[in-house]
Symmetry: C2
Subunit: 222 residues, 2 copies
């Protein structure tokens, strides 16, 4: 990162699913059932490992290109419907509200790069209690490529007009996108990814949840 860009780094980029809200396991459940409904059995642990990728690439990743072509749109529509039916079960991760307030209190701007569609992203931000704290949002509807492609992160930083202090996420796909853009990656364990996977994806720090990160915020901000 150039010194100029560094000077303007006043933004924290947030992932939502699994990071601000405890939703990864609900997504796993929805994908498992969506695949069953179209007659495919895909192992839950493989689905879990792919959560955080955009819906545009997850079917190919899990079931191959032939499946994507024949049932991709169908299984995505079923997943979205099944996930929407359990939105009432979505809870914020521990300490989300306090962490976002603390970041704002330090003069940092909060932006979101989500793989979910606009409607779901809005519902999840409401569930996280973060809707009024976030300035800019990029959803799966706004971009041609989802994470781990860097486009969502690049686009939201362009909207914000500021460099990123770090990206906060729970999945290796967040880390890969951050690395492509040259942004630091700070990870939380709330998505159920192992420390090894998160470190391999470039995580500088791995915390239990937002509450744990808040306790170490001075260390992270340096």
């Amino acid at each position: 990162m150039s010194p100029d860009a560094d000077q303007r780094a006043t933004t924290v980029v947030l992932d939502i699913d699994g990071t601000l809200v405890d939703s990864v396991y609900l997504h796993v459940h929805a994908w498992v059932r969506a695949f069953h409904q179209v007659g495919l059995t895909v192992a839950s642990h493989r689905i879990h490992g792919a959560i955080g990728m955009g819906g545009d690439r997850i079917v190919t990743h899990l079931a191959g290109e032939a499946a994507e072509e024949s049932i991709g749109d169908d299984v995505r529509a079923r997943h979205d419907e099944l996930f929407e039916s359990v939105l009432g079960d979505v809870r914020p991760t521990r300490g989300t509200d306090e962490l976002l307030q603390a970041l704002r209190d330090r003069g940092l701007r909060l932006v979101v790069a989500s793989s979910a569609n606009a409607e779901t992203t809005d519902a999840l931000l409401q569930a996280a209690g973060a809707a009024t704290l976030v300035e800019e949002v990029t959803t799966g509807d706004d971009v041609g490529h989802s994470k781990p492609h860097p486009e969502p992160v690049e686009q939201v930083l362009e909207k914000a007009g500021s460099g990123a202090v770090f990206l906060l996420g729970d999945a290796p796909w967040d880390g890969e996108a951050a690395r492509e853009v040259g942004v630091r990656f700070v990870a939380v364990r709330t998505g159920g990814f192992s420390d090894e996977v998160l470190r391999d994806a470039g995580a500088e720090h791995v915390f239990d949840d937002p509450a744990d990160l808040l306790e170490h915020l001075d260390e992270v901000l340096g």
Copy 2:
């Protein structure tokens, strides 16, 4: 293990949940909702990390002794009801049937040490297509202590009257129980536990699923 005991080692001890059937994520979902119903929020990834422990100890592990005393029985009953309502979603893990047949073809006896209750264990064995292949079963109803306590494994080996070639499981609790009894632990990734956690629990081998183990059976049996 004494040479005598080794000579009589003709039994493979099987875990069911997450090993023969893809049920761990359904348990996570059921526990999350059961805790919500009694007014507690417990993070999904923490619940995931505790799956495979018996229901008798999981509430204390996740929510503390006070919660166990006040809502333990209630939350277990709700979990059991919620899990039973999704038994129709339970699928065998990849290659389960072929692996069990191959073990039988080599003259090995199959026994089960499950943390689930007798009724659920029976339903899961049916779902795995393993009900007619298994000779002895110990369930959570038969023992005073569940895994990681060694009692379930000790008891089923006593019933079988034979030493164990290895224990096949998906969770660190299986590994701890195996270690206490002096039985080799072979692990599959179908429960969503990381290789690091499984190795730390004593796994000699870590395979993707039963199909992957079947491909390496000569190597494992030595």
